[in-house]
């Protein structure tokens, strides 16, 4: 069996695609392991979804091709939670609230707060606690 890879995706479903079981097909037909971090359907019935997909490169590519047959916007950089570097003062308040250590003190000498997006599970704790409003969500 070839090596599996994991890819983080952020998907946007317009109203017309919201009721289709797209993720089911990724699992059933493309043999992908999905790990959903966060999903939201807005009052306008648009949907947002941030997830990891794990599988062989070939299966992932086929799954992506399948996704593209729908009117779904695929963001492969998967940034559901972003930090504004201009707003961040590196105070470190978020660090004690971040459950996965995605936000951490990088350099012990300068006390710079680094954001490792790959470790973020999108719990949104940082958005609630940042006094400077540096963290925000795409949806």
């Amino acid at each position: 069996m070839s090596d599996t890879v994991t890819k983080k995706l952020m998907l946007f479903f317009p109203k017309c695609e919201c009721e289709k079981p797209i993720i089911y097909h990724l699992v059933k037909d493309y043999d992908l392991v999905v790990n959903v971090y966060r999903a939201k359907v807005t009052p306008e019935e648009e949907g947002y979804l941030v997830l990891d997909v794990t599988g062989t490169e070939e299966h992932i590519n086929n799954g992506m091709d399948f996704l593209q047959t729908f009117n779904v916007t695929i963001n492969t950089t998967g940034k559901g939670v972003t930090r504004d570097d201009q707003r961040c003062t590196h105070c470190g308040q978020c660090v004690s609230h971040c459950p996965t250590g995605a936000l951490s003190i990088g350099d012990g000498a300068t006390r710079e707060v680094v954001y490792n997006e790959a470790d973020c599970i999108e719990c949104l704790a940082c958005i609630r606690v940042c006094p400077f409003g540096a963290c925000s969500s795409a949806f």
């Binding site: 003062t89 590196h90 105070c91 470190g92 308040q93 978020c94 660090v95 004690s96 609230h97 003190i105 300068t110 006390r111 710079e112 707060v113 609630r128 606690v129 006094p131 400077f132 409003g133």
Partner: protein, 240 residues
């Protein structure tokens, strides 16, 4: 800009002993001591480098968010008469400074509006205070390290609002910066509110301005009070 209280010389480490989250000016404090919050730049905080106010007084020139201003008085709640270590470093909130400078000369990066969910708004400003090394004692005191500065751990669910004065214990800024402190045998994750990163940046910016001759020092024309104790507001009658 006129700031009646800046540069708190040491301060509390806030925790929450109750069973529900409380929203304070020290940030969100989770129940049962799940997290702690502190707010001093420790070894880079101006008044912790001049614990007896030997060089910092009324009239001292300061770097306030990039503008050149001065200390116009001791700050509100200034209380130099406090518990100190053998080296004279305050072990609780002590001195404060009242500062002023021209806002038009400030850099937006160092004047920042802040919002604490469930509490309210505040303003975060960057401050640098030059300390002239006049003698070996002044030099020695500016060499203070985080491990030499102790902060009191205080329960913000009952002891702080009820002004009981109870301190659960003391921790050093070295421990606080490690991201985890031990309180009565339990490990508690800790976050900061003051930015050490920005404090270091300001120290370097101010040092450069002094070296270039752009920032001139001034001798204080009056000392800060040394023996004043905290005088809290006593509420004598409940509002009806």
């Amino acid at each position: 800009m006129v700031n009646p209280r800046n540069c708190y010389q040491n301060y509390n480490v806030a925790i929450n002993d109750s069973d529900r989250t409380i929203y304070t000016y020290m940030g969100a404090l989770e129940p049962r001591r799940e997290n702690a919050s502190y707010c001093s730049a420790g070894q880079l905080s101006p008044l912790l480098n001049d614990p007896h106010y030997d060089t910092i007084g009324v009239g001292t020139r300061v770097w306030l968010a990039g503008a050149h201003g001065h200390v116009y008085a001791e700050g509100t709640q200034h209380a130099g008469a406090c518990e100190r270590t053998a080296d004279g470093v305050p072990m609780e909130g002590a001195g404060t400074l009242a500062l002023t400078a021209d806002m038009k000369q400030m850099r937006p990066e160092f004047v920042r509006g802040v919002s604490f969910r469930g509490y309210g708004v505040s303003l975060a400003v960057g401050v640098g205070v030059p300390i002239p090394i006049l003698n070996p004692d002044v030099l020695k005191r500016t060499c203070v390290r985080d491990r030499d500065i102790m902060a009191p751990v205080v329960d913000y669910s009952s002891d702080y609002p009820q002004k009981t004065g109870r301190v659960i214990g003391h921790v050093s800024y070295e421990q606080l910066r490690g991201g985890e402190i031990e309180i009565e045998g339990c490990k508690v994750t800790v976050g900061s509110l003051s930015s050490y990163y920005k404090a270091l940046e300001i120290a370097n910016l101010l040092a450069d301005e002094v070296r270039r001759g752009d920032f001139l020092l001034a001798e204080p024309n009056a000392p800060l009070p040394k023996d004043r104790a905290m005088k809290p507001l006593e509420i004598r009658e409940k509002a009806s």
